[in-house]
């Protein structure tokens, strides 16, 4: 099972949108996919109309006494299952810290699902914490949405610096532009400059489109509801590049 995490230190940058859309695309490609909603706010769980509740909470999950499949739910999309969010995830750091090798905690939960799934997508909470380190240790690829702004670019640099210290276990970083508004000059300029200036930034721009924003109302991924939209096209390209990063598809 390969592990891909959508991660950013910042909130509201399009992590959940990327995770649910890539989950839908992976399932459509025939991959048995599990999406773990690690954010206690439970946005991904909400989008799939699944109650953000895990019996026994974070403690029970990381103790690995219970098979995570028992608290998982199938989504409306065949082949895509959800390990839901739970409000207790806000204390996941503390729970991990109680165990030996806390940085392996997320990986230990995922290990139990390895035979049943081809891909795990982790939708992370916006933070940098022990949970993040555990995610970095488990993930093969880190998808990092970058909003076109100077501060976001700086945050990406900080993340890359942090991960460089963790080499060689650090996941491959695949950053992409998110919430791009082409009416704004700076967005257009950064869209042009970033992929060539920063290694690991893919030439993928998820637009700041109303259909992405209304996913919360339709409660379904745009790749399922509006497959021909520009946003769906961007997620399709992001998924293709993710497959390349995972070694499932040759370099173009």
């Amino acid at each position: 099972m390969k592990v891909v995490a959508t991660y950013s230190i910042k909130g509201g940058v399009g992590k959940t949108s990327a995770a649910v859309n890539l989950g839908a695309l992976a399932a459509r490609d025939g991959l048995r996919t599990v999406l773990w909603d690690l954010d206690p706010q439970g946005a991904a769980s909400f989008l799939f109309r699944i109650r953000p509740k895990v019996k026994g909470g974070a403690r029970r999950l990381v103790k690995a006494r219970k098979d995570p499949i028992e608290v998982m739910r199938g989504t409306d999309l065949e082949g895509l299952d959800l390990l839901p969010a739970d409000f207790s995830y806000r204390n996941l750091d503390l729970e991990l810290d109680k165990r030996k090798r806390p940085e392996d905690g997320v990986g230990r939960v995922l290990d139990q699902l390895g035979e049943r799934y081809d891909l795990a997508l982790l939708d992370c909470a916006p933070s940098i914490s022990l949970v993040s380190e555990s995610v970095f240790a488990a993930a093969d690829v880190l998808l990092v949405p970058v909003v076109p702004s100077t501060l976001s670019v700086r945050t990406l640099e900080q993340l890359q610096g942090f991960l460089a210290q963790a080499a060689p276990t650090a996941p491959e970083v695949l950053a992409f532009l998110s919430m791009v508004d082409r009416r704004k000059k700076m967005h257009r300029e950064l869209e042009q400059q970033l992929p060539s200036a920063y290694p690991g930034v893919a030439a993928v721009s998820v637009p700041s489109a109303s259909i992405v924003e209304t996913m919360g109302a339709s409660r379904a991924p745009v790749v399922a509801t509006r497959p021909r939209s520009a946003a769906a096209g961007a997620y399709g390209e992001l998924w293709r590049r993710t497959r390349v990063a995972l070694g499932w598809e040759p370099e173009p």
Binding site: D29, F48, G74, R116
Partner: protein, 513 residues
Amino acid sequence: MPAAPKELLLPPALDLDAAIALLRERLALETGRAARDERVLLDTFDGRLRAAGAQAELRGGELALHEDGAPVRRADVDGRRGILAADVPAGVLRTRLQALAGARALLPLARVSGRVQALSVVDREAKTIARLTIERADVVAGAQRVTLPARLTVRPVLGYDKAHERTVALLVDRLGFTEADESQFDAAVRASGGKPEGHKAKPSVALEAGMRADEAASRVLTALAEIARANLPGARADLDPEFLHHLRTSIRRARAVLRELKGVHAPDERAHLRDELKWAQAVTGPVRDLDVQLEDWEALVRPLAADRAAELAALRRVVERRRAQERARLRRQLQGKRFSAVLRAWEALAATPPAAPGDPDRPRADTPIGMIAGHRIRAVHRRMVRDGRAIDAASPPEALHELRKRGKELRYLLELFGDPFPSNVVKPLVATLKDLQSVLGTFQDRAVQAEFLHGLADELASEPGGPQALIALGPVLDVIEADQRAAREQFSAVFASFATPEQRKLVKGAFGR
């Protein structure tokens, strides 16, 4: 463990529309795809997908694989003949088919035409908690159409087992649906005249120790001839390499029956069939040998770096060309009169009436099979123990090859005539024999492979890209040689397990005098 899908038959009084209307009244439903559906149901000749709980369908040029707990895997394929995993574009579907079907082709088993409506049972949040598919279908077999009973399939959604149970209970207990006693797949394949479970490659014949040898031989030879007949069309059409392999295995087993059961059949008929089966085995050998080389290809190139492996393309071309030449010869042989005559002679001998009392040509026809088989099993086992003990580091390779032949003989005796003997002796004997044969097989197969590759050198040298392939072959031959050495080193240990004093004692006791 998530719940399993449930297939239900509609109440006889309901047509499809009435059933859907009834479901809408009693369940919170979202309506999905409704369509006319034309599809071909597929499986391997031996029913591997069905045995693994999977189902393959072909719609137009699109192959779809359905498995519980997994999304549908799809890919465009050319399905004019059988579909091999290698024919499927690289991706999830190909990987899964390689695991499920191996070298076997997916073959069309039934053509189904009908109307399908997908529905979802939803909760108050409009979240899908169970999936329904309702279908009325005909099986199209030539000009005939057989209407299958309309059915409703209820599939669970992970984490909503209770919703699945409630839905099934409502349908069965309140609405008059009944549980189908066979799946749609089985019903469709049966209606097409096929065997949903597929064809077995091994004969399964019930024998009793006191059964007359001629009757036992008749049963075993009949079962083997049926397997040969069943595999012949696929071998002729070259649908996948396993047809030829199983055809050859059934021939080899029939030869073993005749070899082991002397004095059971009339000598002339037995000698004639033995000669003809030997011929049939010989003419089918070259293609099978080349199939084995091609099946081993991945293992062959694995030790090489990717660019070096690509340099072996010329070798692959040479092997495939040789196979095509041998294949053309084989097709003529399989379609020829002599091959048909072999099968007829085989079936005729299998159908020979029991020998008359005191028939001098068939002195052992009425001897109990348990006595003959037990004697042969003990004799072959004893000889294997003797020959194996004599093998040491200085023994020539031929000594191991001979031991392997004896091992095959013992294996066939146990497979074909082991039924009357205690399974607590037969099973461990077969298990240790398998381990021994595996090591001996690796030892010999590697020798044959090295010889085969050396034998291609001249042809390969004149092939475009051939010299590079010859260079790339160097490390491959090193690996083959190392494998063979390793097998030789393992021999003592596996032989010791096979020839333990305890096992010898058990064999002696179980197979009697």
